[in-house]
């Protein structure tokens, strides 16, 4: 699916980014991310270690969730246009959880000749609890 190019003129404050949900994250997903990122902290894949550390089960790496959420902004604004991506981790994501990613444009401005858009983004689990809160900034081109 080729992305439709987003121009500065297409964006207005309050616009919502097209949201999506990733269903049913599994332990296998955590292990795949361990392999791709190199994060082999046993708390994310070793049940015994997770329990000894006071957790009911293993849980997802924060950066895995941040990675899932990042598609929201790269699909919307274009990977090449992204200037800043920031996340704060709120609640853990457990095996079987689904993650819904959504966001909204909060600012649109021309700064030093660059056409900047900014937005707030978040990921929520199936109970509606915020797992990640974040923001992004991108520089877009103009139609003219």
């Amino acid at each position: 699916m080729a992305r439709k190019k987003l121009y500065f003129e297409d964006v207005k404050e309050g616009d919502e980014l097209p949201s999506f949900t990733v269903e049913n994250l599994t332990r296998t997903d955590f292990v795949k991310y361990a392999g791709s990122s190199g994060d082999f902290n046993p708390i994310h894949h070793d049940q015994t270690f997770a329990e000894v550390s006071g957790n009911p089960t293993v849980f997802a790496m924060g950066m895995m969730n941040a990675g899932i959420l990042s598609r929201l902004v790269s699909d919307y604004a274009g990977l090449e246009n992204l200037r800043k991506y920031k996340v704060r981790f709120a609640t853990r994501v457990w095996p079987g959880d689904s993650v819904t990613c959504k966001g909204k444009i909060t600012n649109k401005a021309v700064e030093n000749g660059e056409k900047i858009i900014e937005g707030d983004i978040m990921a929520l689990n199936q109970k509606g609890e915020v797992t990640i809160q974040g923001s992004f900034r991108a520089a877009l081109s103009s139609r003219t």
Binding site: S70, D75, F89
Partner: protein, 151 residues
Amino acid sequence: MADKGDIGKVGKPITIRIEAGKIREFAKSVKDANPVYYDEGVAKTELGGVMPPPTFLMTLAHWDDGEGRPHVKMDLRRVLHGEQEFEYLKPVYAGDVLTAVTKVTNVFEKSGGRGGTMTFVVMDTDFTNQKGEKVAIARSTTIETGQVVAR
């Protein structure tokens, strides 16, 4: 425990080559189906080459087995990743060789609830490419809680 004396500590410079295969594997693991990560032709047309996903540079933290991390004493059982921020200054492409230098930029305390006093450690990793251009900054905030946190 980390303290203000850790501010300014700098880790060893680490060199990492950005690889298309690793980008593809990473994109898959964060369930990002954007064809620019899987089809070099599409990537070339749309972006001028294969670019890593927004959070890809985080892999450096594990790739070097922590060697580039400034030495700050923290109890791993009480450590949480609080925040992560990336600033993208210039495009990064597969084939680039980046040098990363990590520095402790802030250490501060806040009194928390169940976790007792929390110590926040902020580290900036600056990435420079083979042309000497600064391409990205990864800023991570790690929280050390006052006691082991169970949720």
